[in-house]
């Protein structure tokens, strides 16, 4: 609570700066560590990155957080949360697919990883591994998922690679 009054993770402590919320953290890192920029200089491409990040962190992820899912299970019935979550993911993924379809680059916005990829990768991973999302409806996102799963920075950030992940043994 002292680190993040919303009681959410993540939170970043950087000297005397304490920042909660993944969006605020990502943009802080972009300013503080300008090597390997995640946002392009071109205003339109920058806006598209931010729009995709926003769709994920405002339009999809909050609508499948555990508290809400438990609430829906309690109110509507056990197992009813899955269709709800799938509906939210479909809405958001359809919007993002429309924005990036036809993109010829290796990643969402081109041949370099940008902010949109940073937000898309975990969302697609969660959709596939936790919510049985049929990615054939979103061919561009499905292709990106394959790219992310082989990129070292994304691989190192996978949930089961973290120190607090349950051990498989």
């Amino acid at each position: 609570m002292k680190l993040n009054p919303m009681k959410f993770v993540p939170a970043l402590v950087d000297g005397d700066a304490v920042i909660g919320d993944s969006y605020a953290i990502a943009l802080y890192l972009e300013d503080k560590y300008p090597q390997r920029p995640l946002l392009p200089q071109d205003l339109k491409k920058k806006a598209l990155n931010i729009q995709i990040a926003s769709i994920v962190c405002s339009g999809i992820q909050p609508l499948h957080n555990l508290t809400l899912v438990r609430f829906i299970e309690q109110k509507v019935g056990t197992g009813e949360s899955i269709p709800w979550v799938q509906q939210q993911i479909d809405r958001g993924f359809t919007a993002v697919e429309n924005m990036i379809k036809g993109c010829a680059g290796k990643f969402a916005m081109g041949d370099e990883v940008q902010l949109a990829d940073v937000f898309l990768a975990p969302q697609i991973f969660a959709a596939v591994t936790r919510y049985q999302t049929d990615m054939s409806n979103y061919p561009t996102l499905a292709r990106l998922h394959g790219q992310y799963m082989t990129h070292p920075a994304f691989e190192a950030a996978l949930p089961d690679r973290q120190p607090d992940a349950p051990s498989s043994g």
């Binding site: 609570m1 005397d16 920042i19 943009l27 802080y28 300013d31 920058k46 806006a47 931010i50 339009g59």
Partner: protein
Amino acid sequence: MRKEEAAMSAATGKPILYSKWFSSCSHRVRIALNLKGVDFEYRATNPMTDPDYEKINPVKFVPALVDGDFVVSDSFAIILYMEDKYPQCPLLPRDLKKKALNLQIASIVCSSIQPLQSHAVIGSYLGTMDTNESLQMVQHYIDKGFRAIETLLEGCDSKYATGDEVQMADVFLAPQIHAGVTRFQIDMVCNVTLF
């Protein structure tokens, strides 16, 4: 996007804002445009009932800003785009910690409060939740978010949230507080700084 919209925006030099009057997301962008003194054209729309809106914005969300041949939707993306394009009346401070605080407050509003009170949450389950239950759910999320923001702003004695000038946090807070008070009966006694 329809060529007509792009041509009109390019010809007049005025961006076009697609907005719903009661949408707090649209409300944020209107505030930012007014603060920056941007002359824009207001177009009312409702994506749920307007079949032509998808041709303008395939993402089908409001608000959306048409600026020449470019369409950007999502209030966060629109406002950060405007921050770059219209640097007058900057909404983000240069100090990285204060900038991060503004972004964190904006993100709490647009990720942790507004989506959970939105029409989709209430409408989708209205058949299995009575009106009181859905109102309680909305109030729960507003209360949680507002208490968190109160904590972040503890001790602030400036005129606005993060300083004596209006900044991004204020642009996101004002519509959320307005909606909380006018639509969801939020008691602001618990949120002294925000009120």
